[in-house]
Symmetry: D2
Subunit: 290 residues, 4 copies
């Protein structure tokens, strides 16, 4: 199940390093020198952290050397300028695992968007601690892996989940209203590769039952937040947020209903940004190139 | 300085009481019976709190009795049905005091809206702990009262402020980015009549420097919240909130700049709702009729 | 397939009439007099058109007479005050037909919301001029009716569609990106009961290919509009609209993608308002009670 | 009256040209080679028009040659690659003329933002066809030039206005709800340097009285559009748009009131983008770098 085959000869270079002069020219030069054609380039300097970030998308169709030679040249520049970087080729679509429990709205939303070719990825796997959504997996022809979890087996089941993710070569885990706290081992191993959707505009209403909390506080907006999962629950780097207006007329179940739409939209935008290699994490923040 | 003389014969009745059958009919009947013509009526039932709320705006131009007789009849119904209520006549515009420190954007915004007849009130007074904005008061022809505050005189100055508010017959105090915590005595005496603007989407980023906090957390939206001031700082009933999108490109000073627009809009909407007698407070929440 | 059984003893009265005094009291009195308990009431006066509108939701559980007697009493008041009205009982959920062609996003969205109990209706029928979405109908267990249309058979096919709608007792037709212009006969027969979704913020970009038009004009927002279908294409009374930001970076296919989300949200809100009996049409405008 | 002195050694290069490989590298190289440090770079390719656009902001503090030599080098690259470009130095703030008639909200908004250092410009001049806003000009210490206009003198007055703009070295004309159609001569001479605010979400409701038109059509959103003035009224390249929700409750005067907030925000964002050299016009569209 593969969607949206963007130019197979395209590649993306994501770079972060201490800010200094000459970075942009150095990277442009090395790419141009090998015949790679820059399609798109976006950059950002954080003056407080004194860090430089860049995303360069380029076309390899008329490369004058080969990929290996280009990779070596980039590695050299990176070492010289103290860069961290990732180089991603479009002809290798990312493999995604979606974790769910009983709520189906985010799952359906992701699968229908994928089918509509909004996401450049393979949905390789649906993982759940419950059986309810197995039929959805079947309907879309995706492997369903059941890991029932209770306090006694949680650690063991997560170990088995990690094994499955590893063996399936998963690049991105999407927690699509998965109702379990993901353990430290998985969060560490897949750091920066697990996106969670929280049903409030973090940092407001951390923890459980955010719609109930929002109702009790009497807010006039409710929100949703997509963030990378970290050891600190609800504290990971935020990728995307949005809100919708509510009023005294909205009971908790109205907030839940309005929130479903938000959760779907916010999660989908975050997943899309990640799949397009637009997100760079630093400290507890993100740069999301537009 | 008086603006927007809505029909001088109009009145508004704001009601809250335990929910029971027959309330709507009883109020409609008493008004109709005296020749008051209902212009607008909005109601709400909170099923969790089992409370009923109603706002009725009516025209007294063809009243068949007199105001006193009508008031007695309403009082009777109110007692029978266990209602709390307020009856407000449009021919007595509310008297407003604006508290400021050094920021001028909310003050200018309120005064220009008033001049454009967006608010049905008199701006009777500008109170400040600093001299900077005295020239703005002069420009708009409004009395400026200076109460410099330091830790040693804070209690005494607030007592004098309350005396001034009392003697001026102030109905509404607007804290337009006033950089002092208002003392318990004033908050108690003017409970439900002091509107504050907080520069975050509460309950996120309570306390000081919310834009700095937002920057550090890396949120993708910043917000502003207008609420009634209570003893618990930043915890009063929320009247209005809004947000604006931000990104990694926004430094703290960009958040401050974007936030100014939000603060102005959110505070103005809250003040307008209050002046139009659209807000009912219960517990720590509000009903804001549309 | 029935969802959201709101209190079976609830009813809604929708009223419009020339504005005059005493209307609110008269209706409240007749309901109270028969033991009907008003749950919710919202009203509006259009001062330009001099028209009065009201929506009253009430509970019949403790009716002291019977429905027929109440109906007669309401009819009497209506005649006396020159009212047009509709009385709708919640225990008779509306029957809905969804018209589609090849796009599946609005159809899926409506069906999933229905399954999540967001809509108080039965989805009785999916009508299409193409076979592509028959499998979706099957998946959700809904009757699928195929009416292939070409210039030579269009009038005849629409006649057969109307017969089917009539025989199925359809209350609401939802044109969920149905790619045919609905004929005058159907539009007249089901006036005020056909909701269409147009993929622009009407009245901008009427007619075909609105995303292409938006791209060419270089707008910074794209929109969607849900409206009742009328003889004048894209000119019917607007129920709901929304927009989303776009930029020079968005190609036509990005606008189409962003637009899908809008179309789904805007259509769903309009359908929900209609199903909740919140929409009153007058002239070419709507009152949508909140 | 000068605000926001951004680094005086900063410069911005705005480039557009037919898309071809090597552009990014060529520009990076020439700047780096002269010791100019790239601070920010944003680019865009329009695949339909086959055009390339770039905005590069750089620091000249450690320039190894001089400005003239750098300018020559850029001119050479530009000629070789068929580029159109503008080079702007931050130490020469733009000179702005604001045209007004009787509405003061956009004028106050611009002047207060300028005073709050949101705009990098001098406000050199306020031009009006009426006397009403002269006092505002005086209050902010800005030259006020009165050009009363009637059908008989319109051409002559505009000629005098152009002379004034020329002699004052005006870089940007802001039509802040100026209630005259600007003549062809001025629009041609200052093409791409006149920003107008239109009080609807263009292309809906072109021409006069857009709020009245919006009211009659019964839209659920009203908007505002900032665009460059061109010969075709209301058809110039759009820089910024936004909308706000309205409902059946809003009379025309409510739309006007809500619209004022939109007009201020949208115009201010467009002016800021222009002053920051973020806007490139091509055909009837704009690229607005973020």
């Amino acid at each position: 199940m593969v969607a949206m085959p963007v130019g197979p000869e395209h590649a993306t270079l994501l770079v972060s390093c201490p800010d200094r002069r000459g970075i942009v020219a150095a990277l442009a030069q090395v790419l141009y020198g090998h015949g790679a054609n820059i399609l798109d380039s976006d950059q950002h300097t954080d003056p407080v952290a004194a860090l430089f970030f860049q995303r360069i998308r380029f076309d390899l169709a008329e490369l004058q050397t080969d990929r290996l030679t280009l990779e070596r040249a980039i590695a050299e520049v990176a070492e010289r300028l103290g860069m961290q970087y990732r180089l991603l080729y479009a002809n290798r679509p990312k493999r995604v695992a979606v974790f769910v429990s009983r709520y189906d709205h985010c799952l359906y939303d992701l699968l229908l968007r994928h089918r509509a070719r909004e996401f450049a990825c393979e949905v390789a796997l649906i993982v759940s601690n419950h059986t309810e959504l197995e039929s959805v997996a079947r309907e879309f022809g995706i492997r369903f892996a059941l890991f029932p979890i209770d306090p006694s087996n949680k650690a063991e089941q997560e170990r088995r989940e990690i094994e499955l993710l590893d063996s399936e070569g998963i690049d991105l885990v999407v927690l699509a209203r998965y109702m379990q706290i993901v353990g430290e081992e998985m969060v560490t191993r897949y750091a920066g590769h697990i996106i969670n959707i929280h049903h409030s505009f973090l940092p407001a209403f951390v923890g459980g039952k955010p719609y109930q909390q929002a109702y009790e506080r009497g807010v006039k907006l409710i929100g949703a937040t997509a963030h990378y999962a970290t050891k600190q629950l609800d504290e990971g780097p935020i990728i995307e947020q949005d809100v919708v207006r509510c009023s005294h007329r909205d009971a908790v179940e109205d907030l839940v209903r309005k929130g479903r739409d938000l959760e779907k939209l916010v999660l989908a935008r975050a997943v899309r940004s990640h799949l397009d290699d637009r997100v760079l994490v630093y400290g507890n923040k993100t740069v999301v190139f537009g």
